[in-house]
Point group: C2
Chain length 122, copies 2
């Protein structure tokens, strides 16, 4: 793949320069996301997103056919998976296998930030 | 996939609990790695690793058929890709496309830590 004759594409930028978008999905509250590395960057297999949840923010309680690979950067997270509930703080790693019902919620008073990687599925 | 009758497997642990292994590859200096999420965890597509480079540590200058999706957690990194050289600090995102010659080096005086995700390739 080429972009103006330059191969797509070594990328090295501060995450803060990547657009911060509101997550509009049903059941999502107080969540914004930066798609740090995506298909359009030339990524052949999976995408890296950075989520920011405000206090009381949460993702939908849902399941889907793809997995999540998560790393908590900042804040306090409540992770729910198939009825199990765990706390995760900065430096925690979370793996949600495909097809399990899961939710991420901000369990603290400051912004929660985590990376969440998914295989391309759309 | 099952492990003793329990579906593989929701995981939520501090990264520090995952084994820290020396990287023995030719050209690697002062690098250790934690395989945070891997095939054996049930991850169907890609693996999450956390690298720790001591001052003067570096990865091999090499290329391969798979991509790297990287997020810098701590420290100062020099990233080389096809002769281009960039600096990256905490909060930087780096994408190395497949088949480009690349290297990560600690450009600071403290430990450099970054996540590096790769599709399963072994």
């Amino acid at each position: 793949m080429q972009r103006r004759g330059i191969p797509l594409g070594f990328k090295c930028v501060p995450a803060s320069e990547v657009k911060l978008e509101k997550m509009e999905e049903t059941g999502a509250e107080g969540i914004r996301v930066r798609w740090l590395i995506k298909k359009e960057d030339g990524a052949p297999n999976f995408a890296m997103r950075l989520f920011e949840l405000q206090p009381n923010g949460r993702s939908p309680l849902h399941s889907h056919s793809w997995e999540h690979e998560v790393y908590i950067l900042k804040g306090n997270c409540k992770v729910v998976c198939e009825g199990q509930e765990k706390k995760a703080t900065a430096g925690y790693v979370v793996f949600i296998p495909p097809n399990l019902k899961h939710q991420f919620a901000n369990a603290g008073k400051s912004t929660l930030k985590f990376l969440c990687l998914v295989p391309h599925h759309r």
